[in-house]
C-alpha cells in the first residue's frame, strides 16, 4: 500500500495543529488562572458552579439584611438601655425622694422627670438611615410628639395636664369623691355612689363594722349604697367601722372611723352621742370629713394616674363633659380635640413588626414600638410626674405626693406583671445574637462555597505548567521528525 505524500504531510500538519491548539488553551489557563471561560466546558461541575454562585449571591443578600437589621437592633437597644436607666432613676426617686417643693410647685424628682421625658422622647424619635425605629411600619413620621405638646397641648388639643385636671374634677366631684352622705331617717346614715355605672370617684367595695348596735347593710344596689343604722345599744369607744373603697386606677383604700367619747373627735373618729340620732349625725359629719381628706390624698393621685392611663390609651379616653365634676361617662378623645402622643403605626403585634429573612426559610421578627407597654410605661410615668403640681399650703399635698410616687414607683418597677423594659432589651439581645450566629454561619458558608468554586474553576498552575512542558517537548519532537522526514525523499538522491 502506498501512502501519498500529501496525506503524509497533512497528518503531520494536523497533529502539530492539534498540539498548538492545546498549547494555546493551556496558555490561556495559565494567564487567566481559570480552567474555562464558558459553562459548556465546565462539564459536570456546571450545576455545582451555578448553585454555589447562587448560594454565595443569596448569602450575601442575607448578610446585607443582617447588617442592616443589626444596625437597627443595636441602635434600638442603645435607646432602650438609656430609657431603662431613666426608668430606674425615676423609680428610685419615686420610692425614696423627699417632698421638698421648689418654686414651681414641684419636687426635684418632678423637675428631673420633665427633663427625662424630653430625653426619652428624643430617644424614641431616633432616626437611623432615614428611618424611625420606634414607629412600627410608619417609618417616616416621628412616633412621639414633643414633651411640651404632650403635657400642655395647644389651643385646640388637650394635653396631659388638661386631661388630668378634667379627670381630677370628675373624680373629686364635690370633694367627697362622688359619694353622697344622707340621713334617710333619724339614726341612720346612708353612703351612696352618685350615679350608676359612673367610672368616677370612690367605689364602695366593702364595709366591715365592729360598732355595737349599728346595723350595716350593703354596699348593695345600683348605684351602690350602704346604710349604717345606729340603735341600742350605742357603740362604745374604740369600736370602729371600715369603708373599703376602690380608686379610679383600680387600687383601693380604706377609710376607718373609730367611736370615741371625746368631743370634738380627732380625725378619723366620731363622737358617741346621747342617742342613736345624735351619734348618727356625728358619724355623718366625721365620715364626710374623712372622705374629703382621703379624696385629696389617694383619690386625686389615683385619679391622676388613671388620667395618665386614659391619655396614653389608644384612642385616648376623656371625661364626657363639661361639666366635669358631675360627669358620669367617658368619651373617646379624637385627634381633633386631644393630643395623640403616639403618631406611629399601631397595626399588628408591637415588637414583631418587621421580618428579616436571614437564611433559607429562617426569619427573625423584630422592632420595638413606642406604644409597646414596656416603653410607654417610662414615657407615661415621666409625663405624669412632670404634669402634676402641688401647693405648699395644702396639708394633704405631702400625702398626695406620696400616693402618686408610690404608684409611679410601682409602675416603673413593672409590678403589674407586664413585660419590663429590661426583658424587651434581653429579647432583642437574643435576636441580635441569633443574627450574629447567622452572620458567622453565612460567612463560613460563603468562604466554603468560594473555596469549592475556586477548586472547581481555577486551573492548577503546576498542572498546567507541567502539561505545557510536556506539549512543548512533544512539539519539538514533531518538528524534528518533520524536518528529518522532509529530507527523506527520493528527489534528494537523484
Amino acid at each position: 500500500m502506498q501512502i501519498s505524500s500529501y496525506a503524509q504531510s497533512l497528518t503531520m500538519r494536523n497533529s502539530i495543529n492539534n498540539i498548538q491548539t492545546q498549547l494555546q488553551d493551556l496558555q490561556k489557563q495559565l494567564t487567566t488562572g481559570l480552567k474555562t471561560d464558558n459553562f459548556a466546558s465546565l462539564g459536570d461541575a456546571r450545576s455545582l458552579v451555578l448553585s454555589l454562585n447562587n448560594q454565595v449571591s443569596q448569602s450575601n443578600s442575607y448578610l446585607d439584611t443582617i447588617q442592616t437589621t443589626q444596625l437597627r437592633m443595636k441602635s434600638s437597644m442603645d435607646v432602650l438601655t438609656s430609657m431603662n436607666d431613666i426608668g430606674s432613676e425615676l423609680k428610685t426617686g419615686s420610692l425614696t425622694g423627699p417632698f421638698d417643693l421648689t418654686s414651681g410647685g414641684q419636687t426635684n424628682l418632678q423637675i428631673t422627670a420633665g427633663m427625662r421625658l424630653s430625653q426619652t422622647i428624643d430617644l424614641l424619635n431616633l432616626n437611623v438611615g432615614d428611618r424611625q425605629l420606634f414607629g412600627g411600619k410608619n417609618t417616616q413620621t416621628e412616633p412621639v410628639v414633643n414633651s411640651t405638646l404632650m403635657l400642655n397641648g395647644d389651643t385646640t388639643h388637650a394635653g396631659l395636664k388638661t386631661v388630668i385636671a378634667q379627670r381630677n374634677a370628675a373624680d373629686l366631684g364635690d370633694g367627697k369623691g362622688r359619694l353622697a352622705l344622707t340621713s334617710p331617717s333619724a339614726g341612720t346614715v346612708s353612703v351612696s355612689e352618685d350615679a350608676a355605672g359612673s367610672p368616677y370617684g370612690f367605689k364602695l367595695s366593702n364595709v366591715s363594722s365592729s360598732l355595737a348596735g349599728a346595723t350595716v347593710t350593703g354596699p348593695a344596689g345600683s348605684p351602690a349604697a350602704t346604710n349604717v343604722a345606729f340603735g341600742a345599744p350605742l357603740p362604745s369607744a374604740g369600736q370602729s367601722i371600715l369603708f373599703d373603697l376602690t380608686l379610679p386606677d383600680g387600687t383601693s383604700t380604706t377609710v376607718k372611723l373609730t367611736a370615741t367619747t371625746d368631743s370634738p373627735p380627732a380625725a378619723g373618729q366620731f363622737t358617741i352621742g346621747a342617742d342613736a340620732a345624735t351619734t348618727a349625725s356625728n358619724f355623718q359629719a366625721a365620715l364626710g370629713s374623712s372622705l374629703q381628706t382621703e379624696a385629696k390624698r389617694s383619690l386625686i393621685s389615683a385619679s391622676s394616674v388613671q388620667a395618665g392611663n386614659d391619655f396614653f390609651a389608644n384612642p385616648p379616653v376623656r371625661v364626657d363633659g363639661p361639666p366635669y365634676n358631675t360627669a358620669t361617662a367617658t368619651i373617646a378623645g379624637t385627634p381633633d380635640n386631644t393630643v395623640i402622643w403616639y403618631q406611629g403605626d399601631d397595626s399588628g403585634t408591637a415588637g414583631n413588626n418587621f421580618i428579616a429573612t436571614i437564611g433559607d426559610g429562617s426569619q427573625v421578627a423584630y422592632g420595638a414600638r413606642a406604644d409597646q407597654g414596656a416603653l410607654s410605661t417610662v414615657v407615661k410615668n415621666a409625663a405624669l410626674l412632670a404634669a402634676v403640681t402641688y401647693s405648699g399650703n395644702d396639708n394633704d399635698s405631702a400625702a398626695a405626693y406620696s400616693e402618686l410616687t408610690k404608684r409611679t414607683g410601682s409602675a416603673l418597677n413593672y409590678d403589674n406583671g407586664g413585660q419590663s423594659l429590661q426583658s424587651v432589651i434581653t429579647d432583642m439581645g437574643l435576636k441580635s445574637a441569633t443574627l450574629d450566629s447567622a452572620q458567622s454561619r453565612l460567612q463560613t458558608q460563603i468562604s466554603t462555597s468560594k473555596s469549592v468554586l475556586s477548586d472547581t474553576q481555577n486551573a492548577d498552575p503546576y498542572a498546567v505548567a507541567t502539561q505545557l512542558n510536556a506539549l512543548m517537548t512533544q512539539l519539538q519532537a514533531s518538528y524534528q521528525v518533520t524536518s528529518s522526514l522532509s529530507k527523506l525523499s527520493l528527489v534528494k538522491f537523484l
Binding site: S4, Y6, D37, A40, L42, S47, D64, T65, R131
Partner: protein, 624 residues
Amino acid sequence: MSLYSAIGSAMSGLNASQAGLDLVSRNIANSGTVGYTRKTSVVSNNVAGGEGIGVQTLAATRNVDNFLQQQIRTETGKSSQLGVYNSFLSRVNNMFGSPDSDSSMAASVTAMIGKLQAVATSPDDPAARQTFLNSATNLTSQLNSMSQQLQGMRLEAEQNISTSVDTANTQLKTIADLNNQIAQRQATNVSVADLQDQRDAAIDKLSTLMDVKAVQHDDGTVSIFTGGGQLLLDKQPVKLTFDEHTSLDATSSYNIDQAKRTVGTITLQNGTTSVDLIASGAFRTGSISGYLDMRDKVLPQAQSQLDELASQLALSMSQENMNGTAATSGAATGFSIDTSALLPGNSLNLTYTDTPGGTQHKVTIVKVTDPSVLPLSNSTTANPNDTVIGINFDQPMVGIVADIQAALPASVSVSNPSGNVISFLDDGATGASDVNAVSATVTSTGLTDSGTGLPLFVDGNGQATYSGSLGNPPQVVGFAGRITVNKAVIADDTSLVVYRTSPQTLIGDDTRPNALLARLGDTSRQYSATSGIGSATSPFSGSVDSFARRIVSVQAAQAQNASDNASAQSMVSDALQQKFDSETGVNIDNEMSNLIVFQNAYAANARVITTVKQLFDVLLSIGR
C-alpha cells in the same frame, strides 16, 4: 520482421515513455491538490495481424475505492451537520457568559431576588426600591436580548439554508455537465479520470450539504439520490427551491400544512411535480439538516425555556388565589365563586370526591376566549395530577355553565345563581359526590387592592397584562422577547410596598416585598414540560431562580455534547479521508521511481532507433 517494424515499435515505446513522463509530471504537480487522485498510464501490447507491432498507450485511469468514497460522504455529511450544531450551540452557550463572572441570566434572577430582599429590609428606602427595579429591568433586557439573539440565529439558519440550496443546485448542475462530458469521452476511449476527480469533488461538496447517494452507470455517468430516495439527478438535475422568509420571530414555525407554515421549506421541482423535501424527511445529515434542526427544533426549544421562565416570573408576581364561598341549595352543599375577575388563561380549581370510594378529583377549568384552541390537553397546566378543561368564556353565562357541566360528571352540579357567579354543588341526599374546594387563580391587573401580588412584569411595549392566555399563538410564545417591567411601577416605585389604599399601606410596611420574595422562592412551583425540562408526569418543580439555573446547565450541557459529538465525528471522517487520500493520492517517491523507469525506457527506445539508424547506414553504405 523488418527494420521498419523495429523502428515503429521503438517509436511507440518512445511515445509510451513520453505519455508516462507526462503523467508523472502531472501527478507530481498535483501532489498537493485536494481531491486529486493518482493517475496511472495503462499500456498494452499493440498487436496487428497476430504480430506485436509495439506498445499502445491507453487512457490514463485512476484507482478509487467507491465504497470508501460513499462512506466518507456519509461521515462528512454527519460531520458538517454536527459542525452546525456546535457552532450554533456554542453561541447559545456564550450568551450565558463566563462562570467566573457569572453574568448568566440565572445570576440576574438571583441578583434581582437579592435586591428584593433589600426592599423587604428597607421598604422605605427609595434607593433600595429603585435598585430592585433596575435589577428587574436588567433581567428583562437580558431575556429580551437572548430571545432576540435566538431568533436572529434562527433567521441566520434560514438564510444559510437558502445559500446551501443555491450551492446544491450549482453542484447538481456541475455534476450533470461533467456527466455529459464523461459519457462522450468514455465513448471515444479518452481518459475521463480527471473529469471523474472533478465530479467527485462536486458530489463531495453536495454531500456536506445533504445526504446523497451516487449510483454509477456503465456509460460513466452517475445518478444522484437523496438519502430518502428522491431522485436529484439523472440525465437532468431537478431544481431545488427554498422560499426564504426574511424575518422570523418566536411564533414562526414549520408546519406540514402549507397554510400554517411561517418559515421557508425546500421544494423539489421535477417537471410539474413538486415535493416538500422537509416533510418527506429527505434531510438526515449534512449542514442543511443541521440548519433545519436549529431553526425548527433546538433554538425554538431554547426559546420555549426562556419563555417558560419569563412566564413563571410574571405569573409568580401577579397571580392571586381567590377562595370560593360556601354555598348550599337544599341538601346539596358546595362552593360558589365569582368569575368576573378571570382573565383568559386564568382558571377555576375544583376539587371533588366520589363517595363512597373517596377518589379525589382535581379539575382545572381554564378560561379561553378563542374556541379554536379547544379542547385543551391535560399538559396545559404543569400539574400532572389535575384534569384540564378549557371553557370558552366568550359566550353568555348559560353557555359557560352548560359547557362546564358537560365536562363534569352529573354528580357535581354547576349553576349560575347570579351575575358572573358559578356554583359547584354536590348531589345532596344521593351522596355520590362531595365538593371539597373551589378556588380561582386570577391575575391582578392593578397595582393596589388586589392582594399582596403585583403585576411587575407585563407583555410588550403595549404593557398588556400577562395571564398566560391560550390563543393562536398562546401568549407564552416569545414572551421572553417581550417581557418588560410595568411602567406604572417604575413611575411610582412605592407601589412595590403599597398594596392597599384603605387603610393606606405605610411605606415602612414589608408585607408586599416579603410576599413577593416568598412567591419567587416557592419551591412547589411547577414548570411546563413543553420546554424540554422535566416531563409531563414529573414536571420540574422549584423556585424561579432554580429553574433559571436549570436552563443554563441544560443549554450548556447541550453545547458541550454538540462540541464533543462534532469533534468525535470529525475524527471519524478525518480518519476516513486520510485513508482515502493515502490510497488515492500521489506518493512522490513512487513517481520518482516511475520517472527513472520511463527515463530508462525512453533512453532504451532511443538507443534502438539509433541502432536501427546505424544498421541502415551500414546497409546504405554497401552500395557505395
